[in-house]
Symmetry: C2
Subunit: 721 residues, 2 copies
């Protein structure tokens, strides 16, 4: 059978961000074990005790993942607190010095320069060293868990840059949060720890070798992402649900339980070390990076109806946010980030300067950096609590400050300004999350709503607590942006520490999702679409029963014989147009197995040829270990030298192919194919006719291509880039 051109050759070469295209440059991960003879032999050799040991190592790894993720969160938190503390202290001193004598413009410049300096460091490392560390990393992790290999996403270097970057950008006063990046960090930690080696550091600890394949690695990455969520929000259950919502297609009880373990350890580690840092060892009251504070009062039924009203306006941010920038030169990217930082400082300063909203200082000194400015003694500038503060603290004050702490005008101005700042900031080349700015905008807007409600109703006292509205507003805003549902509800409830808020939060998130979906997709989905990632949703589009496997499959397919000429194999692998990375093995025409490109590469590298095996009887038999050592960075075919003589040799694939690939008849409907493919996390699905002959191959791109558009089922184009 001949290798053949599978893609439409008419595609243009350079395709920029386009959501109507599906890129072919992304490889898929293989969540189905290749059960070849080597694998089965190993499994059969293993005793029951061996399996127990494996299970125990899985638990140990999950514990480690949780511990390290918690530790990283702790480091980020302490670093940010200290850097921001120093910055605010210096600026505050300066402002106080110049308030009396005049010349506050010097303070402004100082503030802007400090911000820009921090942000510069953050932007330089991201733009020049590891562009993959930009943003929150959540879309990338979503793709990874979905089964798409995003290059460099779980590398050590990415982690280091991400952590340093997020510290700089948060300390630099950008309208960003440090929570989103924690999820990515957790995932990288997991990918590293579970493999027992670091390819970047060229260090192999020779442990956990069994876990060096996509299936196992994916499980650990789920655990890492969950640990990240857990550390970020102090929400271990929410973390588990996040992982499940985004990643797992097949519910495995033991896996879930391990993920939960990692989450718990992570939040506990963070809590423990922070309690030591705060000199109150043993007081486990800060389980996450952001702490909403405990909402003590229960929700009463009266609140319900109105709580829902908060929601509708707060959703459309997405539209604005998706204007992703097209600045591609690293230098310009750094400059832009610095500009945004300086502008943020300027705007904040102007807001504080021109606001005359003075509030009396509370007896408990709950403000960390009360700015007196032009207020009378014993009073502080209320706008400064929102702008002259880390966003986490601002959120908390919006939730918990007593009624009357904020003047409605101040709040509306703040909401508006922060909204535009956040929109501009999103998409900068810095590592930063979008959770906190969303929460902050939502909280401000919700609190505003609560204040207005109290003022227009005759008996204002029953709507007494505007903090509740701030919470609901925050939930609505965040829900409208990220469109997570179940996990976000649980995260919010856990961060709030009050179960009775569950139903209102859930209803708000549900409305936000429905209203939001009507206009535009969620932020992460937009992100994923713009990058043309072949992302598989949970189900095939509803109206796709018209399509069958015959129509969606790629055909003809390059097949190999069980004993194949080396030259043919090399030629096929060198031909970039046959990029399914998996090849059915046939005998003589019926399918009898499936072999992956990566396996063939290893076979070629070790020259496992029939003739050589006969001549060199002493040659060591190829083992599973050889495949694992090459995982996950298999060399390209060009780097393997095959001589002209060797091209004439034969290779016996029997032992290495997966002898029982999943197959479907060609009449199978698309939803049925989709279900099989998604539930088992497949990478290749062989389509056969009634005599078991290969007629086609279904891969991720063939399924991800179909989506429901405005005019019914639409098909996306495939692009080579």
């Amino acid at each position: 059978m001949h290798p053949s051109l599978l893609q439409d050759a008419g595609c243009p070469k350079e395709i920029p961000h386009n959501e109507k295209l599906l890129s072919l440059k992304y490889e898929s991960l293989d969540y189905d074990n290749s059960e070849n003879q080597l694998f089965l032999e190993e499994e059969r050799r293993m005793s029951f005790l061996g399996f127990k040991c494996l299970e125990i190592s899985r638990w140990v790894i999950c514990g480690l993942i949780g511990f390290l993720t918690g530790l990283i969160a702790c480091c980020i938190d302490i670093a940010v607190e200290n850097l921001a503390g120093v910055k605010y202290f210096v600026v505050k001193q300066n402002i106080e010095k110049f308030t009396e004598v005049g010349g506050l413009s010097i303070s402004l410049i100082l503030w802007a320069v400090l911000n820009a300096a921090f942000v510069m460091v953050g932007a330089v490392i991201v733009a020049f060293f590891e562009p993959g560390a930009a943003g929150s990393g959540i879309p990338q992790i979503k793709c990874y868990l979905n089964g798409v290999k995003i290059p460099r996403v779980v590398r050590l270097k990415t982690l280091v840059v991400k952590v340093c970057g997020v510290i700089c950008s948060v300390a630099g006063g950008l309208a960003v949060g440090k929570e989103g990046p924690m999820i990515h960090s957790g995932a990288v930690v997991a990918a590293g720890v579970s493999q027992g080696r670091s390819t970047s550091l060229k260090k192999d600890f020779k442990i956990f070798e069994y876990f060096r394949r996509d299936t196992e690695k994916r499980d650990f990455v789920s655990a890492g992402a969950a640990a990240g969520v857990s550390a970020a929000f102090g929400a271990p259950v929410g973390g588990v649900l996040f992982s499940l919502e985004e990643g797992a297609s097949f519910w495995n009880q033991m896996l879930t339980w391990r993920i939960f373990f990692a989450s718990m350890i992570s939040t506990f580690t963070l809590n423990f070390f922070l309690s030591i840092y705060n000199k109150k060892p043993g007081d486990l009251s800060s389980p996450g990076l952001i702490n909403f504070g405990r909402f003590e009062s229960d929700v009463s039924f009266l609140d319900f109806s109105t709580l829902l009203l908060v929601n509708h306006g707060a959703i459309l941010k997405c539209v604005c946010v998706c204007v992703l920038r097209y600045v591609h030169q690293p230098c310009l990217q750094v400059m832009e980030a610095m500009l945004v930082a300086a502008v943020t400082a300027t705007v904040s300063f102007a807001m504080i300067y021109f606001s005359n909203d003075c509030q009396p200082l509370g007896p408990d000194q709950s403000e960390d950096y009360p700015l007196q400015l032009f207020c009378a003694d014993g009073e502080y500038n209320s706008m400064a609590t929102a702008f002259f503060n880390t966003p986490e603290r601002s959120v908390r004050s919006l939730f918990h400050n007593p009624p009357g702490s904020y003047n409605p005008l101040t709040l509306s101005l703040f909401t508006l300004t922060y909204f535009f700042l956040a929109c501009w900031t999103y998409g900068l080349t810095v590592s930063a999350g979008v959770f906190i700015p969303s929460l902050l905008i939502g909280a401000a807007w919700g609190r505003l709503f609560g204040i207005l409600l109290a003022s227009i109703t005759p008996d204002g006292s029953i709507w007494a607590d505007p903090g509740k509205y701030a919470l609901i507003g925050a939930a609505a805003q965040l829900g409208g942006i990220v469109r997570m549902t179940l996990s976000l509800t649980v995260i919010m409830v856990e961060a709030t520490g009050n179960v009775t808020y569950g139903l209102p939060i859930m209803l708000v998130l549900l409305t936000a999702k429905i209203v939001g979906d009507y206009f535009v997709e969620g932020l992460y989905d937009i992100h994923i679409k713009l990058q043309s990632v072949p992302f598989l949703h949970l189900e095939a589009p509803a109206t796709s029963h018209w399509l069958t496997a015959r129509e969606v499959m790629s055909a003809p397919v390059t097949c190999f014989n069980r004993i194949e000429k080396v030259g043919t194999i090399v030629d096929v692998l060198s031909n970039t147009s046959t990029n399914h990375n998996g090849f059915p093995v046939v005998v003589p025409v019926a399918v009898c197995g499936l072999i992956l490109r990566s396996q063939l590469i290893v076979l070629l590298k070790h020259k496992v040829f029939v003739e050589l095996a006969r001549s060199r009887l002493t040659q060591r038999k190829l083992q599973l270990k050889d495949f694992r050592d090459a995982y996950p960075r298999f060399p390209p075919i060009q780097s393997i030298h095959i001589s002209q003589d060797e091209r004439e040799c034969m290779m016996d694939l029997t032992e290495f192919m997966n002898p029982t690939p999943y197959t479907v008849p060609q009449e199978t409907s698309l939803p049925r194919v989709f279900k099989l493919f998604r539930a088992l996390g497949l990478r290749h699905l062989v389509v056969v006719d009634s005599e078991n002959r290969v007629v086609g191959l279904v891969t991720r791109k063939d399924l991800a291509r179909y989506h429901l558009g405005k005019h019914g089922l639409e098909e996306m184009q495939l692009a080579q880039t």
Copy 2:
């Protein structure tokens, strides 16, 4: 092809409870849609709007399920409170009357008679009307969600008997709880509402007809079970996780979100109606049947190490519990239940009578029925708070009463007695749950531990709160018995209302599971095993890579031709030994489809014969609706009359068979077969050779047969009963 005997004919006929056997009497549910031509035509006819409407009806149904489940929980709660209130009031009056003058034996008799009377009613309806309503129903729901059809488990009659039964048994003072049965009730509600008709009441509302198949019904039953958990414990997230842990194999985001919605509505409905009943409308503070009360104090690190200690002893109850009774006559069953009720009253009375532990009455009168008995004025008998009370209240007092409320001796006596009572009660023919007695025993034992710890440590004050130990003890005991992990942790945390208890509860549950599994399986699993149910766990046994599909499959298989003689079909269906209920269709030898017994029955009933179709051209074409109308109670083959002439007719199966059944090659390893089978919720999996010829059929029993025993992989026998 000839029908053939598939089972070992040597099995004895009458096989009592035996965990080494697998019964063949249970049918499986089919969670894979039979995508035949009728089905595909319907799906293709449906517009996008049609799918939207279906989606909306799903939400409406889930809302209804939640609402009705909450309402049922509310009714149970109010009924129990009132009946028990009346009972305790009468008994208390009587005791007070006779305490002075002597003759307390009359009070004892009164108490015992009242108890026995309540329990008699409960036992009679269960034993005589619907034995399926006995126990908590959780094992049955587990089986249903797993894919095993347990007869009569989701009938309306079962629900009615269950609700009345649980009210009687709890009001009758048995050592049982009303929480477990809520899960079963929720499931029945779901199965009823989602089908839009009641077969028992012979009423068809002609709505929701699309949902009349196993796949859809299962989804709703999951939602119902979750709503039940949610109403029972005020734990909506826990409910979702319970459903997922027990039921769903394939994680579907929309489904989960609907389940969550049902849970939320359920807990909210209960809360709302209870608040009205308690004359505090709008105060939503009782989200579940049991309310642990809010634990305000956070866990501190110091507690951690010791919290774990509580756990180890509290696990072995299982061993005792599994002595299931063998009383099979309904009359005897009722008598036994009454006896247990009377003995419970007697023992409780004796305990109260002989205990001299008097405690001063608190100023807030927190006790509902303080019994003074022989205590001084202004004091009450402490033993009575534990025994003379509904178990829910006792649990709450153990959690929250201030240190010093209980004397260690009282507590140990109580633990011991209640333990034996609970063991004896378990397995009675009454509908009742095991959650509350477990919690109560665990809480008593945990509190005892806390008190002892405080007394032996030099600085007792740091272990000040024995309520915490009660909580941990309760978790350990419950975990040791039911062996749920993730969902139970979340349920406990939600019922506690304090996230910081998550890690200790989780560690305790984990230890309880590990230690418990070492000795004996969980209670529900024991139950399932004793009934020889072919239950599929999440993964194949670890060491089963030795086995392939060829070894596990049933062969030879009865196959049909695409156009088959009616006589052959009738003969095959009448032959009870071919009980796979599914038959591959072949042309001429390669598999081209799969048809179910139920489909054949409908075809025979409507006499869809080739010859008749030719003669009667006007005959209405068979539609999907005809299959749905017959679902789920398809008539037996004996009830369908086929004349001798008709036996010679032919039937064309093409339109009705599933043309794309899943197949596997015969070399596929057992874990791989298992994964496919479990992930897609299959009922039949066709095993084929390399030319696509049928060589065997894998069903649930073939997979459930293998389990890990002490000597490695063991195979269970199949039994006809």
